[in-house]
């Protein structure tokens, strides 16, 4: 039995094709991925995975987290629906808006465009990590101080893209900020103030 096609009634999407095709890919590359991850669920190349759910372990904000996923489950759905971290938002589910931005091994990643199984063995950082243990990152404080939000639905993704920009560039220019944030959309129109929050943080402003 093959994985049921995703969303055919609404038109054939690029990602539904990827989701369908990835079963085979996982079966061959799973060994390498899981070797790093530790748990042996995927270790046996002969193991057939899916349809239906199975357990994988994600390294989520530094903690090994076991979640039930299908082969077609995106990293975003695994984080939100299975691990219960709802900071990353589902807005377009197609890599067009950045609201689901997380870091995977430090790289800005649209978590709706990655399958959960492909993230096994990688370090995943979500927006929740920037206020873990009651310590709020200066960038997050500056988002508030600059009022870099309105409805707030894009904000977690913006925070993560901004965080990655700062990690990578230290003191970015405005042009670099604009380029680094280009994958993220804010419908309320808060961009200028997000740029300001990043600049303030780069200059060492704690709030």
């Amino acid at each position: 039995m093959s994985v049921p096609p995703d969303d055919v009634s609404r038109g054939f999407s690029r990602r539904s094709f990827l989701k369908g095709a990835s079963v085979a890919a996982v079966a061959t590359s799973g060994a390498a991925a899981s070797a790093a991850a530790g748990p042996a669920r995927l270790a046996d190349e002969a193991t057939r995975i899916g349809p239906g759910e199975h357990e994988v372990e994600l390294q989520l904000n530094g903690a090994p987290t076991k979640v039930l996923v299908e082969t077609r489950t995106t990293l975003l759905d695994a984080i939100r629906e299975r691990a219960g971290l709802t900071g990353a938002k589902k807005v377009c589910d197609r890599g067009g808006c950045g609201a689901c931005t997380v870091l995977v091994d430090g790289e800005v990643t649209k978590s709706c465009m990655m399958l959960a199984m492909d993230a096994v063995g990688s370090a995943i950082t979500t927006v929740e990590q920037l206020s873990a243990d009651g310590e709020v990152h200066p960038l997050v404080r500056n988002f508030v101080a600059c009022d870099a939000m309105q409805c707030g639905f894009c904000t977690p993704g913006m925070v993560m893209a901004s965080y990655a920009c700062l990690q990578r560039r230290g003191k970015p220019t405005r042009e670099q900020v604009q380029r680094d944030l280009s994958g993220n959309v804010c419908r309320c129109g808060t961009y200028g103030r997000i740029f300001e929050a990043i600049q303030r943080t780069a200059q060492g402003g704690g709030r």
């Binding site: 009022d147 409805c151 707030g152």
Partner: protein
């Protein structure tokens, strides 16, 4: 019983004392002489940290034990009838817990995306599998998704200009015949989708016959009533209905109704005997939740040599949707006091998703046409378009704004003296220009029926609560509650806990028409003011001072040198908190201005090789009565400018005429402004004391969205010398315009 007071109203050099009749029992009205401590300051958004840390729970984030996930089956045909719907197979599939029909056999199908049935299952993937297994058959009829192909649409020439003759009108015909300059042009706008980032939808949970619904909505109370009625009408036993919307991921006018998805969610939850979440996906959001409709607008008019408008003849056509209404437009009327005028409008249906209100519904369309028309007239007359505006604009507030903005924006120096040619110092490839436009809106708020309320509680432990059942869609209601309550009680803003978006709290307006802040702010003050009286009583007794002398300031309560810390004073309260219900009284009859004024200036750089338009600078000056939370008010204006930029340059729904389906129903192909598009932007908020309520606050959501597209279109006209009369101004239109200009 009403009293009369004298208030200092207006602004700057236009301040004046006026006698104002105020409601008996209301908190004393603020005016220009009131010294405010927190109001108007740079207070932070009170739920900012919750949003920026990801802790804020939106409807999309609600997770309940046993919760089922739902999807809607939608029509793939634009017009026809549903003839067969079979879902026995789907119902029996793994995980499927309920299926409800949303259309009867034989019912009309009215657009691609029309709701047919809904499925709930244990996981979204299972629901999707089940959706694919439902058999729906349709009888297909010929459709038309282009309103300008409707038989009643006006006849146009190859350029899109309406060529139907104008009906005679004595005053207009006479003014046109004798005028120094006349002009006749046709303008057009395309469909803009709201594109709220949080899609429509809800989570429904039944407890016996009581229903709780988390809903991404701009109208908690409207949705509550709508769902109760819809469920009862379908024979469900319905007890109490509670709607919850603490955080809402945008709305912009599209979220006033629970929609078919709201009904479906509640019905599925009842049938499944479990909580159900039904949130739309992005394609559904673009195609099934309304839009700002397109418009075709023709204008002819006349101007005297000195710039005075003499005639304004307007006819417009609105593209709507299958329902054939909601396409109305509004042009700038404040220039027309001395002009002969006439206007007519007609909505034309098409087999598409119906229009919904969107941020100043109809105004950005009409202002784009009207303000560009004004610049075209000015160009013909050889006049500065800013001077033409000042000549015709009688509004005293905007009169100041035009001057202030012109200076700050360096209008004269920035204006391209030879439109179509590069500015001195620029490379030959680049065409630069600037434009301006006016903004106008009402937004004075209203009392509501029954009157809106606010609950204020002061607790023994020194905490204060301010509660409204109304919703905060990102505009800042929560911060408004906290700032006003803190001001009234003389305490820090972080001492106030606020709650919104729960219909068990006092009712408030829907977030539409820029009405929430002006409608609720007087009630917030009233509630805090009433609660304050009760605390003043206790403090007066304790300190042995007359109650009338008790003041609340700087965290102290008392009189003269006899003061208690606010927290100490609260210890006098006892276990039952002080609780007061503030009320929204009717607006005072006298007001300095019945609305808000603004203006915007834009500078663009046009690439004559590629046709790409880049906005390089924008400035807005905006009045919203009393500014309560400055940063938040500025944010709204900035956002409106950016949305307006999208409307002017990028955004358009593209439908496939043959299938009736939207071709760009996602964020990859429907382009909203992104970080790389951002110009340098500045906003100046202008406080005007109107005296219409005890706060004098007006709304700010809509007005700034009215001016932005027009200002940008005018800037493109100044840069290129071509009036591009069809939004969005995409590169193809720019190149065609430049080529035509070179050829002529």
């Amino acid at each position: 019983m009403n009293g009369e007071v004298e208030l200092k109203l207006g602004f700057g050099n236009h301040a004046e004392k006026r006698k104002v009749t105020v409601p008996d029992g209301d908190a004393p009205a603020w005016d220009l002489d009131t010294r405010l401590r927190v109001v108007g300051s740079d207070a932070d958004r009170v739920d900012g940290l919750a949003k920026a840390t990801g802790r804020a729970k939106y409807t999309w984030d609600v997770q309940l034990p046993g919760m089922q996930h739902a999807l809607i089956l939608r029509s793939p045909v634009a017009r026809g009838r549903l003839v067969k719907l079979q879902y026995d197979t789907a119902r029996a599939m793994p995980g499927v817990s309920a299926i409800v029909r949303l259309k009867d056999d034989g019912a009309k199908v009215r657009f691609v995306g029309d709701e047919v049935a809904a499925v709930a299952a244990a996981t979204l993937a299972q629901a999707r599998d089940a959706l694919d297994a439902i058999v729906a058959e349709y009888e297909v009829e010929a459709h038309n998704v282009e309103y300008l192909d409707h038989p009643d649409a006006p006849v146009r020439d190859d350029t899109g200009h309406v060529i139907d003759p104008w009906q005679a009108h004595e005053g207009i015909d006479e003014a046109m015949a004798g005028a120094a300059v006349t002009h006749d042009a046709t303008y057009r706008t395309e469909v803009q989708t709201h594109s709220s980032l949080e899609t429509h939808g809800g989570v429904a949970k039944w407890d016996g016959n009581d229903l709780t619904v988390w809903c991404s909505t701009q109208a908690t109370f409207g949705v509550r009533n709508e769902l109760a009625q819809a469920m009862k009408a379908r024979g469900y036993d319905v007890g109490n209905v509670t709607v919850l919307a603490e955080f809402v991921g945008g709305g912009f006018g599209s979220k006033f109704s629970a929609g078919r998805e709201g009904y479906a969610c509640c019905a599925l939850a009842r049938e499944a005997n479990a909580p159900v979440k039904l949130m739309l996906d992005r394609f559904e959001e673009h195609t099934c939740t309304g839009n700002r409709p397109g418009a075709l607008m023709q204008l002819r008019g006349a101007m005297a040599a000195d710039g005075a408008l003499l005639a304004w003849d307007w006819r417009s056509f609105g593209g709507t949707g299958f329902n054939g209404s909601g396409g109305g437009v509004t042009f700038p009327q404040h220039y027309l006091d001395n002009a002969q005028r006439r206007s007519s409008h007609r909505d034309l249906p098409a087999d598409t998703d119906p229009a919904r209100p969107m941020r100043a519904p109809g105004w950005p369309q009409g202002y784009f046409a009207g303000e560009l028309f004004l610049d075209e007239l000015a160009a013909k007359a050889g006049l500065d378009p800013l001077e033409v505006r000042r000549t015709n604009d009688p509004q005293v507030i905007r009169g100041e704004q035009w001057l202030m903005a012109a200076e700050r924006f360096r209008w004269k120096a920035s204006r391209n003296p030879k439109p179509g040619s590069p500015m001195p110092g620029d490379d030959a490839r680049w065409l630069r220009g600037v434009g301006c436009a006016s903004a106008r809106w009402g937004g004075m708020g209203s009392p509501g029926r029954p009157a809106h309320g606010i609950t204020c509680r002061i607790h023994q432990d020194g905490t204060v609560e301010s509660r409204s059942g109304s919703q905060d869609v990102g505009t800042g209601l929560k911060t408004v509650l906290a700032v006003l309550t803190a001001e009234e009680l003389g305490i820090p803003v972080d001492r106030v806990r606020v709650a919104v978006g729960d219909t068990r709290d006092p009712s408030g307006p829907a977030a539409g028409g820029s009405t929430v802040t002006p409608s609720l702010s007087p009630a917030v003050r009233h509630a805090a003011w009433l609660a304050k009286q009760q605390l003043a009583d206790l403090v007066a007794q304790r300190l042995g001072i007359p109650k009338e002398q008790v003041t609340f300031a700087d965290g102290k309560v008392g009189a003269g040198d006899r003061q208690l810390d606010f927290a100490t004073a609260c210890k006098l309260i006892g276990p039952n908190p002080i609780e007061a219900r503030g009320q929204r009284f009717p607006n005072n009859s006298t007001a300095f201005n019945q609305g808000v004024c603004g203006c915007q200036f834009a500078e663009v750089l046009v690439d004559s090789w590629t046709g790409l338009v880049r906005v390089t600078r924008m400035l807005a000056i905006q009045d919203c009565g009393l500014v309560i939370a400055k940063k938040l008010a500025e944010s709204q204006v900035l956002g409106a400018m950016i949305q307006g930029m999208g409307y002017a340059l990028h955004e358009q729904r593209i439908l496939d005429r043959r299938s009736g389906r939207m071709l760009n129903g996602d964020f990859l192909r429907y382009k909203v402004p992104g970080p790389a598009d951002m110009p340098e932007m500045e906003v100046l908020m202008m406080t005007v004391a109107n005296g219409h309520t005890n706060t004098g606050a007006a709304g700010v959501g809509e007005a700034p969205s009215v001016a932005a597209p027009a200002a940008i279109a005018n800037a493109v006209f100044n840069a290129t010398g071509v009036a591009l009369r069809h939004l969005p101004i995409t590169p193809d239109k720019v190149l065609a315009g430049l080529a035509q200009r070179r050829g002529s």
